[in-house]
């Protein structure tokens, strides 16, 4: 049994007060569009008319996937650990965007098939050295699933203790679009072919092969419940993000949701606790084929649509200035009265 989470819906009479505060600002009614909705959402999460973003932290979870043995990715598995090394050297896209926009960045080994030297600044929460190949056997055991979810939750608890109230998750794992596509299909009921995309850049032939492999994998297992699906097809990084997402909502944090892989973890989480969506801001609609349909399924509209498909949390990293803009206008703009401006 995984631990239970206590996640409350955020709706309250405060919503009306937040809207009223916004409507008195020196601008036409509604003229800040989506930023106004965002300001209300964050106010409700924090239960205040004057929300703040504190110590925003982006956790990048890395894990390997046994399914890569079936040739579902154009990159070799070793790229997972090599990219983790790139993260800690500061050379990846997520480093650039996190630094620019003021994120604290932490890199977590959730289950990479590599022994990192322990002195490196990598948080070692390794469950195992990569999942099993889920073509013929479950990706992980029940015990591993529980450990991954609880490790993710524990990590977020520690962040909250350090004063962080805004989190985002990113991931690195060669093969993880395969895991995410099956999770998506199983949970949403959308046909697998609609969920499988080119990942890091498969060609037409490679895509057809990937769909074939994943179709066989689905036929070989009977899992239907969300946690069983996560155990059977998931990755350690995906399971860990699922636990981290749930704990972040329990702790009333503002959660910036990144792309295809992170949203697959959220699909599991929201199936267990639908109220989690009150805490989620969708940062970027990925160019990976299935992501748009995931967002439609969740009735979600992403802040950014930049045609990116990189993972690592890059979409979330880029959206933070918009989240801060929403909070800042709510706190800092003058009202018609205070500024001496005639209202209509």
């Amino acid at each position: 049994m995984i631990k239970s989470f206590k996640i409350n819906a955020t709706d309250s009479p405060l919503k009306k007060e937040l809207k009223h505060k916004i409507d008195l600002k020196t601008k036409p009614l509604g003229a800040l569009g989506k930023l106004e909705n965002l300001a209300i959402k964050i106010g409700l999460i924090q239960e205040t008319l004057s929300p703040k973003i504190s110590e925003p932290t982006l956790l990048v979870f890395a894990g390997d996937h046994g399914i890569v043995a079936e040739g579902v990715s154009p990159y070799p598995q070793e790229v997972t650990w090599q990219m983790v090394m790139n993260f800690i050297s500061g050379g990846a896209a997520i480093n650039v965007f996190a630094k620019q926009n003021g994120w604290n960045l932490e890199v977590i080994d959730a289950g990479v098939n590599y022994d990192f030297p322990p002195e490196l600044p990598i948080r070692n929460l390794k469950i195992n050295k990569g999942t099993n190949n889920f073509l013929n056997q479950p990706a992980m055991t029940d015990a591993e699933l529980i450990q991954a979810i609880e490790s993710g939750a524990q990590l977020v608890t520690e962040l909250a203790d350090k004063g962080c109230n805004c989190v985002a998750f990113g991931e690195m794992g060669i093969g993880n679009t395969s895991a995410a596509a099956i999770i998506m299909s199983k949970i949403t009921g959308i046909h697998l072919e609609e969920c499988v995309g080119r990942g890091t850049g498969l060609d037409q032939h490679g895509l057809a092969h990937k769909i074939g492999v994943l179709s066989h994998a689905i036929e070989n297992h009977v899992a239907t419940q969300p946690l069983a699906v996560l155990k059977t097809f998931g990755g350690y990084e995906i399971a860990m993000m699922c636990g981290a997402l749930l704990e972040a909502a329990e702790l009333r944090m503002t959660i910036l949701i990144d792309g295809f892989i992170v949203t697959s973890a959220l699909l599991v989480a929201q199936h267990l606790y639908p109220e989690i969506l009150d805490y989620c801001i969708f940062s970027h609609q990925s160019d990976e084929k299935g992501h748009q349909k995931m967002l439609q399924y969740l009735h979600a509209d992403a802040l950014l649509k930049l045609d990116m498909r990189l993972g690592e949390g890059t979409g979330a990293a880029l959206a933070l200035p918009l989240v801060e803009a929403a909070v800042n206008f709510l706190n800092e703009m003058a009202s018609f009265e205070s500024a001496g401006v005639s209202n209509k």
Copy 2:
């Protein structure tokens, strides 16, 4: 005669080198989507593989419009000067977003119907105290049009001298969506009704009245050439932005285009010098009705779509972090080789 500008297309063999540099970065090919196009565009503008954004400056031009006498706006004309006072007090949306994202902000009186105390930090380039009511007479004289364009150009020259290589323009002027709508219709050939929107918040009746007034105004004048259209229907702030846009392109600055009013100035500028578009980044697609069609006419795709319709340069102010992200990944990301990551 207005001064002539020397604006060169940016396309060069450097484009291929920029693309090559991007393709060696530690990410799947094309995975940064629109940010990759943006990095190439800015590299071409600055003629370098390592562009930088220096002293980004947002100029907010304010001006009044005689057409407000016909009841085309729900707000009274005095809101123009009151909002200018709000800008210099720091209470408007543009103050909040400019401060957050690192813009230098300057407020320019291009032609407000108010005498500002000279000790205030408002750049006084006032052409006149509001334009004429263009229902029956041209909004401005030839001499005023020339003065406005040259003042805007001169201001940008001064910015460049101070080390600024990235500019955006914002505006404040009750009634200026009326001016922009006619400019749009005249230059693009799109029917007036498709160009006229609710501005700061007209209701259905008010919108019908606005369309009626502007239709009469069009019938009362024969202007067809871009500068004649600008003189007949424009505002001082729109004409000044037109000059500023042209000078910024001549000086190879990166220009962030804001919403409906700024784009109306660009419509005039690009009709005179089509190469100006090589220097323009479209920051935000406004919720004001005509803006989407303006962007289509220019074959432009905005970075942000946040349903805002506030003016002041707010869309441009919010887009700067994306522009900086494009430059930063180009300069700071590791290559596969330098990071020791296996390429496919």
